[in-house]
Amino acid sequence: MSQAVQEANAMEAHTVEAPRPSPENWEPLILAFACHYCAFGAADLAGVMRLSYSPNVSVIRLPCTGKLDHSYILRAFERGVDGVFVAG
């Protein structure tokens, strides 16, 4: 993770809301950014092994997680996703 991302995260830390109880049956919507070479492959393998996880996550493939830009994460949050998962 680039220093800038860490700083952005640190900045976000200032704005974190106090934890609130989540509504019943609420499911978070999650967006994942995955490196083509490792995490995206791992997600494929999870399928081959027929593991099971919740369908509330979709993956955007990146050539490398180093390609990640702040704007991807921030845009996702601004538009309402509940979690961003960066894997690589």
Binding site: A43, L45, G47, L62, D69, A76, G80
Partner: protein
């Protein structure tokens, strides 16, 4: 020439060694048949959890190679196949191959797994080393290549008993074929490379160990499977008896190695120390709570490879216990849980200790079937049953035109096997240089349509994958939804989008509907994108105008219980792919003209061998040497460990190099500067003060190393103290050795010390060889060796045994109590603690030989500065990857051979030098290099030259241009996009992963949320 050479090669064995040779040859103009007796390639490496010394996941680094092999236009995979006869002679062999029935038509199999799911018959999984089960219908492992299922006829209920056929009933493509028969195929090839691998020692005959009766006593390969994430415990380590996490674990080394007890394996298996260290370290990461008690029972710890000693040190720091003992009895624990072990300590005390689990570090053997092949081919084996090779031509067998690589020529680790596989490829190519390119295939495409500037006309193809996707996801609904997406003008559902028929259909639809973008909603782009890119190219579209939505691996297969949500997610996935592809642009592959010339730096043994191997293949080579004379360190070496004289060989080699029409030798030469990248480097050199410039497509660094000058044990102060090379000279001439009475060797002088924490690899063998020579020349003399661990790895162990049989006395010392050397009344003395007697001993010696460390040359730093390649902490040049790219450097087009990489003996230097020639030939055999167009593009207008990219790029593609501002060398770019991630000006964008495309995907994913959100 009597008969015409054939431009094809057969590689026997689909493990990492065979794969390496096959890829090198196929990438440099030969057609390759890769014969594998199991249903899939990958060999033992695929079974490993991690690999030392980096603890990389074995599968993660291997899998790209498997995919490359499986897809290669010039590699034909022959699985379930065995060679039955080879006739003819070098250059033109006729090979018969028995191909066993698969019972599943690979052309029809879509790897959906229905057959396995429905198959009622379970059998032990060979891949899991018997630790897990598979079905009669199965794939070898999830990432196997080819990704085609197979029916094991010996287990199949229908084949054995005539009823069942459950698989056939459920196979969605009708791929099951019980009529399939074994067949014999005939091939014509110019050479054969044997890479049949090894079998592990079976410890059952060791009844004192109780292997097979004690559930928690497993072999190291079985243990790999227990550790592995795709193994039977899915990476959560539990012991076999009660499926609980073990805490106290022991490794027993040298099981079936360095032993004559109920086996005849007097050699060292070379890899077990390192894999035990690796397993111990990985285990400590696996176990929860961090209170693991891990012990390794060993004789000598042999961590003699690059960065290996650091792994040993790490293990010590992490609390792994090292016990120098060979347990003699293992008994089952209470209620068959765990075990207890009896061993004698060095002090002679008998200990009975209990463990939760123990691992037998089993040795490597030549597998029986491979031995049969050797016999069938008439290839000579050595006394250890491995293929006999010479140190001076390490991959050549006794039959001309047949080469061998990997463990079949002796125990070795993966990097050495990979090196040899490239060496074998080089030797093959060398003998078939005149027919390079004659059988290799090349694909042709129709001219590309110009779609730039057109509005997107996107076609979406939604795959049912039989029922793999359609069973969970409502593919019809997804197809209808796709039609509503912006830019989509066509959408349809296919039963199998990947089938050959559908490819033709897609092509037709693209033309009929003037599609200019395509989305395939099916499986993973990692395996299928190249195929669909190909379909687009065949339809006259640029291959980069397709995107895939992975609605199988990342949807239907993992959300089977929630079909509605899966369908909703599939719609989103398709919408995201549509959003992305709408912004995709046709990309041109980058072409680089290759300068057909090699630069070899260093005229020692490695540089000479590389030069000759390249030149014999017809590649022009410039060899530069800084000294006045070629030959390097090899000029001072008497013989190889097998006793082959080096002098004559070297003189002959130098003569051949100096007289070769394709080689220009330049002595007293130094390198001044260098520019360029793979395919077109330009290096300016200074010859005797005159500077000139060499254009070259690749470079091989073979700058050598040197014996260090010791700073202890009175070296340089007393004339009776010598280094190895100095003593070799004494041995070779004069009567100094005959006149003397007492000799001593001290090992690890300057190696394995805090300031130089690596093992110099060659010294133990050098010492035992020297000690034997002394005893033979002067049988009345006494010879002592002061050592820390004797590391006569592999078959070199034989020399150690011989030395002991000849009466050489070995005295162990530890780093904190090194021997003391002093002179008293003119006599030279050594004082040390004897570990057997547990007493101090003092000897007077006539000659003291110091096993001085091998150190890198200072010049390496200069190469690093000029070519931007890497050095390790010890000053040796670094390879691109310690396991699978041991000859390539991190900079494309640069290769490495010999001591500049790490201390190594003659045979390993020669193999690496030949390997470097092979890797170089992959580049030099091409007129142009085609590089992916999916790379980062630099917008110089908005770049402010802040250098963030310059500093972050691992490939050195951004550079400071002549005008002082940043420019981008696209040839070096791999498209990773780190530059784009760090650029504060957003001046870098990776083609078809541009920010606007990714943001369009984010927007698409969040469309509903955004539109339905409360007013802002």
């Amino acid at each position: 020439m009597a008969n015409k050479n054939v431009g094809a090669v057969m590689v026997v064995g689909g493990g990492i060694a065979g794969i390496g040779a096959a890829l090198d040859l196929a990438d440099s103009g030969y057609f390759v048949y890769l014969v594998e007796k199991s249903p899939g390639i990958g060999g033992t490496m695929a079974q490993l959890d991690k690999t030392f010394p980096t603890n990389d996941c074995a599968m993660c680094i291997l899998s790209p190679k498997l995919v490359e092999c499986g897809r290669h236009l010039n590699i034909e995979l022959l699985t379930l196949s065995e060679v039955t006869s080879v006739t003819g002679s070098a250059g033109d062999f006729t090979v018969e191959v028995l191909k066993r029935a698969r019972y599943i038509d690979p052309d029809k199999c879509i790897a959906c797994g229905s057959c396995t799911e429905k198959c009622p018959r379970k059998a032990d999984s060979e891949f899991d080393a018997g630790m897990g089960k598979r079905k009669a219908a199965y794939i070898k492992y999830a990432q196997t290549v080819p990704l085609k299922y197979v029916i094991d006829g010996s287990q199949c209920i229908y084949i054995q008993k005539g009823r069942c056929k459950a698989c056939e009933k459920f196979c969605p493509t009708g791929a099951i074929n019980f009529e399939d028969k074994d067949e014999t195929l005939t091939f014509h090839v110019g050479s054969v490379i044997l890479a049949p691998g090894f079998s592990t020692f079976d410890p059952k005959p060791f009844d004192f160990f109780g292997y097979g009766r004690i559930p928690d006593l497993v072999t190291s390969l079985e243990y790999e499977r227990l550790l592995s994430a795709n193994g039977p415990c899915m990476g959560h380590l539990v012991r076999p008896s009660d499926h609980r996490e073990p805490k106290k674990i022991a490794w027993i080394q040298c099981v079936g190695s360095r032993s004559t007890n109920r086996c005849n394996n007097t050699y060292c298996s070379s890899v077990c120390c390192m894999y035990a260290l690796k397993q111990a370290l990985v285990t400590s990461e696996h176990l929860t709570g961090g209170n693991a008690e891990l012990s390794i029972f060993y004789m000598d710890m042999r961590s003699h490879g690059k960065e290996f000693e650091r792994v040993y040190e790490t293990a010590k720091q992490k609390g792994v216990r090292f016990v120098r003992a060979r347990p003699h009895t293992i008994l089952p624990g209470r209620s068959d849980l765990g075990l207890s072990m009896v061993y004698a300590t060095e002090q002679g005390e008998q200990i009975n200790e209990s463990f939760d689990m123990a691992i037998l570090s089993v040795g490597l053997e030549a597998p029986p079937d491979a031995q049969n092949i050797c016999k069938m081919l008439g290839i000579e084996q050595n006394k250890f049953r491995f293929v006999k090779t010479s140190c001076l031509d390490p991959v050549k067998t006794s039959r001309e035109g047949i080469y061998a690589t990997g463990v079949i020529t002796g125990p070795k680790d993966i990097p050495q096997a990979v090196v040899e596989s490239s060496a074998a490829a080089a030797q093959s190519a060398r003998s078939l240089a005149d027919v390079r390119g004659t059988l290799a295939k090349k694909k042709q495409y129709p001219p590309e349509l110009d779609v730039l500037g057109q509005d997107p006309r996107i076609g979406v193809f939604v795959c049912s994958c039989g029922i793999n996707i359609a069973g969970t996801v409502d593919v019809k609904a997804v197809t209808e939804y796709a039609k509503t997406l912006p830019g989509v003008v066509f959408a349809e559902n296919n039963l199998f989008t990947c089938s050959t028929d559908t490819q033709k259909l897609i092509s037709q639809i693209i033309r009929e509907n003037n599609l200019n973008r395509v989305v395939i909603a099916a499986c993973t782009p990692r395996t299928h994108e190249p195929m669909f890119q190909d379909t687009l190219k065949e339809s006259g579209l640029n291959g980069y105008l397709v995107e895939m939505a992975n609605i199988r691996n990342q949807n239907s297969w993992v959300h089977q219980s929630e079909p509605q949500k899966a369908t909703a997610k599939a719609k989103k996935q398709v919408a995201m792919a549509v959003a992305q592809v709408a912004g995709s642009r046709p990309l041109a592959n980058i072409t680089v003209e290759v300068v057909p010339r090699a630069l070899v730096v260093g005229g020692g043994l490695a540089g000479l061998v590389t030069s000759l191997t390249l030149a014999d293949q017809g590649f022009e080579t410039v060899l530069v040497e800084k000294e006045q004379k070629l030959g390097g360190n090899a000029l001072h070496i008497n013989t190889t460990w097998q006793g082959e004289p080096v002098g004559g060989f070297l003189a002959d080699l130098i003569k051949k190099v100096e007289n070769h029409p394709k080689i220009s030798v330049s002595k007293q030469t130094s390198i001044l500067s260098a520019t360029g990248s793979v395919g077109h480097f330009s290096t300016s050199i200074s010859v005797n003060g005159q500077s000139s410039s060499v254009d070259h497509g690749i470079a091989v660094f073979a700058t050598g190393g040197q014996e260090s000058r010791p700073e202890e044990y009175l070296y340089g102060q007393d004339s009776r103290v010598h280094t190895h090379l100095e003593f070799d000279a004494l041995l070779a001439g004069g009567d100094a050795v005959d006149k003397a009475q007492s000799f001593a060797f001290i090992q690890c002088v300057g190696s394995r010390e805090p300031q130089r924490p690596y093992c110099s690899r060659v010294c133990c063998t050098h010492t035992v060889k020297g000690a034997i020579a002394v005893r033979k020349k002067n049988p009345d003399s006494s010879v002592f060796v002061f050592y820390r661990d004797i590391r006569t790895y592999g078959e070199r162990e034989d020399l150690y045994t011989e030395a002991r049989n000849l009466g050489v006395i070995f005295v162990r010392y530890s780093l904190d109590s090194k021997p003391q050397v002093f002179v008293e009344d003119g006599a030279l003395y050594i004082k040390a603690m004897d570990h057997v007697l547990q007493m101090p001993i003092q000897l007077e010696v006539d000659h003291l030989v110091l096993a001085a460390a091998i150190v890198p040359r200072q010049e390496n730093q200069g190469l690093v500065d000029l070519y931007k390649c890497g050095l390790n902490a010890d000053g040796f040049l670094n390879e691109a990857h310690p396991k699978l790219r041991p000859v390539d450097m991190s900079v494309e087009g640069l290769f490495i051979a010999g001591l500049c990489h790490y201390p190594k003996p003659v045979e390993e230097s020669i193999a690496q030098a030949q390997a470097a020639a092979s890797r170089a030939a992959v580049v030099l055999s091409k007129k142009t290099l085609m590089l992916s167009g999916k790379i980062s593009k630099h917008n110089r207008d908005i770049c402010m030259s802040c250098l963030a990219c310059f500093r972050a790029c691992p490939y050195g593609s951004p550079f400071i241009d002549k005008d002082g501002r940043v420019s981008h060398n696209e040839v070096k770019c791999t498209g990773c996009g780190i530059c784009a991630g760090v650029c504060p000006a957003k001046a870098f964008q990776v083609e078809n992963y541009r920010d606007d495309q990714i943001l369009a995907m984010v927007d698409s994913y969040t469309k509903d949320l955004w539109e339905n959100a409360p007013a802002r």
